[in-house]
Symmetry: D2
Subunit: 357 residues, 4 copies
């Protein structure tokens, strides 16, 4: 049985590169040889033991690669084809999928719904920080990469771009909207780009790191607010003439940004939440108009599936958005432990790392 | 100057019937002689000093009456016509109104938005627990009562029915949905009726009073859950086969029901919130899937305006819903202090009282 | 190889009962033993040669039956289980499916879209007017029948009810809407029921057969208009006080009803079209306000998939709608040629026939 | 009584500059002194007698100007303020307005709906090709021009930009959509800009004039198709790999472009129609999939009201779109007859003319 290198969760605090067998595939699967992948903030939560996964699991959910082998029932692809798959790999057949809620895929449950059930890579099945990955339900999930796009150009599609853009989409941004995006890490930057791409005409990026704010401006922010120097709520109310924004996007996962989003919303506005929270949240009575402000709070988990990937790659291909500035560091798979160390400590201005087996 | 009787807020704890001048009207207003009105839970909050209004204000926001006089610029109505107006009386011309968010009407503000700004009767202008009321922006707000409908039949339209139904509407209930409604007071009962009317096929009403649950069954609940005897979250999960509901409607305004709503939602479900909360709310991390469950939390303030009133009266007229069982007690305006006493203490199985000047 | 009886298209004018092999199944399929099925208006089009299918094809797309055998990769079902499948059997994995447009499933095409591609039974693969049918993509399509529901109670779910209800759904009917439904054949009757179930409060059913109008009243029509006696456009404008309806549903597939729908719409109204047309359509300039009336014309093909079937059966189970009156005649499979003869000639007040192998 | 110059419809074939009294205003009106206006294709229809208006009417519905006088009941504005108003000036209080369908405003009708009722300027009341115009329902319609924007920068907002953008909005364009825009006149060019602004990533502009196609590229078209040289349907199917577009926008008002839109749609796609048609339209059976393709045909009349104007000016102010290239010619009001002559004959590459009193 052939062996391959993979980044494996051993125990809280330890993700190591080790050998394990190349995955076997079933009739609906594909085996993909990874050419580029990356590390996500969620992987750091796993590393720290804050999000539990099985010991021995291969981590990683952002694959770019080449089809090595196709399951016996898979049609419409060929071996050797360059593809990506989303971080979320829905089955396509659960009740949740048939309702269009692929991320909450409940394949295998009696009723067809499971919270976060579509997130399988590096969570409930082996992921893609490895030389090979098994992609389940390949016909639902494999998206061919258009000629002319490099691995790094599409590396954000499986998760960061899909998640960030969903912040703009779930907020139902309309032409002429004012939008605030709290935190300009990789997902917040994509939310900023997505807000502009959706027709918002006053996009306000908030962070407390000046280099991230500089990238935010390049990604489409019309205003940037340095939260280390001013109170962002006051500043946004000033920028909007006391009106507040139509949509506020939370891209950090903290009480303070969640709450600030509510405080900068105009009545009837939408808080579009992308963050992964680590504790209960508090909704302040006043910012919520005691429940009478016609507010909406919408959370979104990264949309997946091949059609989503196709659309995001079409955005890249069209030149509307350029996410290459987000790849700040590059490592070989052999160096992934060093990459985790850099990324987990957010050293050296890192936004995203590219990992190449 | 002619005088009339009116229920006036004097100070926390005291709403008294007293004399004050019949209102004068401007060019866009109408003077309506009240024939029937009622007391709302919000009025009790005002009585108790929990919601602040100006001393001397006439209370009440649910008018049924007859046009006594029309402002000089008002067209399309005639004196003597039977009408209702919504609890919310939007101007029709603010930016909020032009966005379709009439309840957050910001007429008079620089940017056109004001939280709860559409609620004027018995809040920022004199209300309708009186012999006469001035209806502002009459062409936006006066809705003729169809022949054949009695005052009591349309008495719920201005607030209770409009609010309760909006719980179903904001939840975007679809044919075949499972819906839970927490609390079966007047608004919850209307939410139950509205959920059924919207195509939900498993409507679950929750309360801890058995007589309210009996009314819930008559209003369309397929299941009733007595929260004084069973844990409603467990019971709803049992009824839905472990799946949870598509939409949960909060109609009480308490942390425990807000939280229970989240706990009974399927992934991707919607919490439609109608309650008026009196403190900060907590979102439990687990019930919120840490922000990754594609949940929606939507709050709604009572929709107003004459088109809304027309539609609600059409519902009554069609016989789809009968809200007369909700009028449990009747008082003359002279007896309104006794009516407040009964209603505020929820004595004698009271749901709604009819007050007739 | 085991043989079975099946209704086979031989040539225009001839559908005959003959023997053919019991279908073989692949890993994702199921073999279902039919217990009840029916004949659709579309089947009559096929019979007459108006809609072309391959010679030798088994006709029929409305199956109720029992799982005889499951493909090797199918999970979540058991042999012996009572099930239905929709007339439309999507793959779940095409780009169209991932966009939620399962009826236009383009599995197998380069781009994933194919007009009507989700309709396979009795169109591009063997159908279910037979003793057995092969159900493709079983995990997407098989919906267990709740205990307590008879075959005839769920017989309308696969097509007639799903199509008729989609007329109401695509029209985005809201509480208090006025709706006209043109033609009260099986699909129109279901559209009538669906309109009422969606909250319409003035549902107007139009037909020129008085017995169908009588059924329309039982299905929820508030008004019925006999087009053999009055001009339906004038009558609907009279009923609506000159306003017109919010939504007009076309359920016949003729120029005259399509056009009448436009003529009875209020400005900004929606024509929800269900009919299968047999020639070009004309949009009259005036009824279309020269393109300036904010009109919407929406066509819908029967929604399929197991979640759709589950929801429709939930409607039946809830008692909201009773479609049994629509089964007017019963035949054994051996008598299917006589059933076609009756149904094709619309004799004896036939609405739908039940066929039992 | 003060006199002013105005472009007046005399009879088919004759719009002349003449003197008439400066308008008087009522309590809800404003008098605006025009500083810049323009001629619309619709005005040419009026000139030719193809669209009937009353003899003696002042033409024109695209005003930029300065508030000269405010009605007694108008609040929130000051005389001397620079403003625009939309081509559509809704009342804000009809049933149509309260449903959000301001263009179909039926103020004054018994039921509150009137096809195109919101279009008053130069249609049912005096328009703005004059020194002064009376703006009805001023609080609904007057939108202050942000400092720093010139008259010409905002001149397209009242009609051309509002209409063109509504083509993208009514099509519900999503990120990654493919969109075709048929005809690249002023409205089509704005539709092209609006499609890009809404997130479409493959915008295809069609026209048969090469100079218009050149402007289309500047406005955001990714592909331009010269219909004088290739068959646009074939070319668009080639560009989209045989898939077709998600949304096709009709911006000419002809059978051939309407039909071409249907032919280039993917199944389930949306035809967003902006054109003013001058005869019945034909829907070809095949392009409509006989009614089974889940197609949508949506027509839009120019959205109006001050919030719409505010949003469109915010787009200009943000620099997202620059519509100045569309002003190709400039005239004084005294020269308006020459301007009509140039514009009506589409001479000299004219797109839009600026008229300054």
């Amino acid at each position: 049985m052939a062996k391959m290198k993979a980044a494996i969760f051993v125990e809280p605090g330890r993700i190591v590169l080790d050998k394990k067998p190349v995955p076997e595939i079933g009739p609906l699967d594909a085996l993909v040889r990874i050419t580029t992948t990356t590390i996500c903030g969620t992987d750091v939560h796993i590393l720290k033991g804050e999000y539990p996964v099985a010991k021995g699991l291969t981590i990683g959910h952002e694959p770019v690669g080449i089809i090595e082998k196709l399951g016996s029932a898979v049609e419409g692809y060929r071996e050797g084809q360059r593809v990506i798959a989303g971080a979320i790999t829905p089955s396509g057949h659960s009740h949740a999928c048939l309702c269009g809620m692929h991320s909450q895929d409940g394949a295998g449950t009696p009723h067809g719904w499971k919270a976060m059930g579509g997130w399988r890579f590096g969570n409930t099945i082996d992921g893609c920080q490895a030389e090979y990955v098994r992609v389940p339900d390949a016909m639902v999930n494999l998206a061919p990469v258009p000629d002319g796009l490099s691995d790094e150009q599409v590396l954000m599609c499986p998760d960061i771009m899909s998640t960030g853009f969903s912040g703009a989409e779930s907020g139902r941004i309309r032409i002429g909207d004012m939008v605030a995006v709290f935190a300009q890490g990789p997902i917040g930057l994509c939310a900023t780009a997505g807000a502009k791409l959706s027709g918002a005409t006053k996009v306000i990026g908030v962070d407390f790191l000046s280099d991230r704010l500089a990238v935010a401006s390049r990604m489409g922010a019309d205003h940037v607010v340095d939260a280390s120097r001013v109170d962002p709520v006051e500043e946004i109310m000033r920028i909007t003439g006391g009106r507040g924004v139509d949509v506020a996007i939370e891209a950090l996962g903290r009480q303070e940004t969640f709450e600030a989003c509510l405080r900068v919303l105009r009545p009837g506005g939408t808080l579009s939440s992308l963050g992964v929270y680590s504790g209960d949240l508090t909704i302040p009575l006043g910012a919520f108009a005691a429940g009478l402000g016609d507010h909406k709070i919408i959370t979104s988990l990264c949309p997946g599936g091949k059609e989503r990937m196709r659309r995001l790659m079409a955005v890249i291909e069209s030149g509307r958005v350029d996410l290459k500035p987000m790849v700040t560091h590059r490592f070989r798979l052999d160096e992934i432990e060093a990459a985790y160390d850099l990324f987990a400590h957010q050293r050296d201005g890192v936004l995203k790392v590219a990992i190449t087996p």
